[in-house]
């Protein structure tokens, strides 16, 4: 049940780097455990408040959240005691790009709902921004391609959904 992926001695396998005991899984385990504990407390409160019967609605939450806490504890113990693992040599993982992409997504959803910009411009701008974040080539080399794809895609989606599928999308500022 251990998380060990590769049991070779350190420094002998090409394509891997010694990474020691990674911190990430431990933090993840603590978060998992705390979230589970919070939900278990909630389930206990509900059971106390509404009463607990074997065929009532308060038993399953107790079982699921208890299991969550026990497994979270096991996961924490494993990530704490795991042998130093060797990971495949991967380029250093970036936190900036996924975080920026997430911000772009949330911004996109809020603009769609709470501004009058409309589906086509919002989608086109989001698409170009996301492609920029995900791509590695210089801005100038791809901006034209991305912009053309973005406009075409958002226009086709808008027309297809509003005209043919009868699903409303915000029309916004464009006269379409």
């Amino acid at each position: 049940m251990s998380a060990v992926v590769d049991e070779s001695p350190q420094g002998t396998v090409p394509g891997t780097v010694p990474s020691g005991r990674p911190l990430g899984p431990r933090i993840a385990a603590v978060v998992v455990l705390l979230a589970g504990a919070g939900m278990l407390v909630r389930a206990i409160q509900d059971a106390v408040q509404h009463g607990l019967t074997v065929d009532g609605p308060r038993l399953a939450p107790l079982i699921v959240t208890s299991g969550w806490v026990v497994l979270g504890g096991a996961y924490l113990a494993q990530s704490w005691t795991a042998e130093p693992v060797r990971r495949e040599r991967a380029p250093r993982a970036s936190w900036f790009v996924p975080a920026a992409l997430m911000a772009a997504l949330v911004g996109y959803a809020l603009v769609l709902e709470y501004t009058v910009l409309g589906y086509v411009p919002a989608t086109a701008v989001f698409f170009v921004a996301a492609a920029r974040l995900l791509g590695d080539r210089p801005w100038r080399a791809v901006i034209l391609r991305d912009a053309v794809v973005a406009l075409a895609l958002s226009l086709v989606i808008y027309v297809a959904f509003t005209r043919f599928l009868d699903i409303q999308l915000p029309a916004g500022v464009l006269p379409i």
């Binding site: 990430g24 899984p25 009532g56 997504l105 996109y108 989001f126 698409f127 989606i157």
Partner: protein, 422 residues
């Protein structure tokens, strides 16, 4: 997926056409044979399923969830944690039997529960894209130019000779393993790949693009799907993530798969089965001429492809729900999916827990209220006992082949066996 190892190597050697062709024809052969088996077996199976009572359904749901969780992924702990997350999300909303709210945190948006579409879009589309975004410049995007086309000859005589036995063997593995609660296509494709890589005359080519390594697993993959339909249609129990999504689709149309489906919705079921025959033929007819196009799809620049996926993911949730809350919820689930992928948690158990959890709870409570709260109902019938024992067994068995593969020092196999494919 096992196929991608050999298929990718074949593509790199300019044999993408043969790889796609043997996959397409193999899928057709396996799909047709296994759909015949489904047509023959479904009705007797449904007759048998009529005898199932609430306690048996509960036991069966436990078995399906535990078995799938135990068989995919590298770690039982992480797999069960994924399952717990799915079960938890399944609890959110109004309880179907009493109307009491659970884990809604006072939000009206959560009273209806969390829609399966939102979870799937979040975990798969958003989570996958975020994961990819965190690892830039990781995937080489070069594919060797195609070898020159020779009219309609996608496969050489040699390719045919090497492909037909793996197709049939893949089918023989795929259908029964698909019908068992073993996680759908994972196990049979892996078994087929293992078998071909051990038994093939061209063992030495494995890892460098052996056609058997594409033909067998692809056939097994497609055959297992018809197998998965056996418990889905006759018992209403999904045994893979795909089947769980299909069950959700059935429920959207107010169709409840189960023993009665063949009596009450006979026309619908047989139409579905007929559509499988047709779908297989169409898949073949579409895939072979379009191989040139599919190879081109590999060349869509990654930023464009993934930005498009994000646009469609958002559109899907927004169009279905019309609510920005649901869109943001899908994004939040995407963040969870990102961390799950990063720390190697399997995704399939979440989906199964979400679908099977509410069903399992309902049958559990029904069984207990029929027995006036007597837990003996879960051990009083042999069928229930057998199913629950199998569930316990499923928690133990996965360690056996895993240890064997590792003991033999078979790194590639160990990697495939332990790797997951959602």
């Amino acid at each position: 997926m096992a196929t991608s190892i050999e298929g990718y190597q074949m593509a790199r050697r300019g044999r993408a056409r043969a790889a796609l062709a043997t996959a397409a024809i193999g899928s057709f052969v396996a799909g047709t044979i296994s759909t015949v088996l489904l047509s023959v077996l479904a009705v007797p199976m449904a007759r048998f399923a009529v005898m199932f009572r609430a306690a048996d359904y509960f036991a069966l749901a436990v078995l399906a969830m535990v078995a799938v969780t135990a068989l995919v992924g590298r770690s039982m702990t992480r797999g069960l944690l994924s399952l717990a997350l799915g079960l938890f999300v399944g609890l959110v909303g109004i309880d179907s039997l009493t109307g009491q709210a659970r884990f809604t945190f006072g939000s009206v948006n959560l009273l209806d529960g969390v829609n399966i579409v939102v979870v799937i879009v979040g975990l798969f589309a958003i989570g996958e894209t975020l994961h990819l975004a965190s690892r830039p410049h990781d995937v080489p995007s070069t594919v060797a130019p195609l070898e020159p086309a020779r009219g309609f000859a996608w496969l050489t005589r040699e390719d045919w000779r090497r492909s037909w036995r793996p197709w049939l063997r893949g089918t023989a593995l795929g259908f029964p393993f698909g019908a068992l609660p073993s996680g759908g296509a994972e196990l049979p494709t892996f078994l087929s790949y293992t078998y071909e890589s051990k038994r093939s005359k061209h063992r030495d080519e494995f890892g460098e693009g052996a056609i058997e390594g594409v033909a067998g697993p692809e056939a097994a993959n497609n055959a297992s799907f018809s197998g998965v339909l056996v418990p889905l249609l006759t018992l209403g129990i999904p045994t893979s993530a795909t089947a769980a999504v299909m069950l959700a689709a059935f429920q959207i149309f107010n169709v409840q798969p189960g023993p009665d489906l063949f009596d009450e919705g006979g026309a619908l079921v047989w139409a579905l089965i007929a559509s499988l025959y047709l779908g297989n033929v169409l898949l073949l007819l579409l895939n072979l001429p379009l191989i040139r196009l599919w190879v081109k799809v590999l060349q869509i620049p990654r930023p464009v492809l993934y930005s498009g996926i994000l646009v469609f993911a958002t559109l899907g949730v927004y169009a279905v729900s019309g609510s920005v809350f649901q869109v943001l919820l899908a994004y939040a689930i995407g963040v969870v999916g990102f961390f799950m992928r990063r720390y190697d948690f399997p995704i399939a158990p979440v989906i199964l827990g979400l679908i099977l959890g509410p069903m399992m709870e309902e049958q559990f409570r029904r069984a207990l209220s029929l027995s006036n709260g007597d837990f003996g109902v879960f051990v009083s019938r042999p069928l229930t006992v057998v199913l629950l024992s199998l569930a316990v067994l499923a928690l133990v068995v996965p360690y056996t082949p895993r240890l064997l593969a590792r003991g033999r020092g078979d790194r590639v196999l160990a990697k495939v066996a332990l790797g997951e494919d959602d």
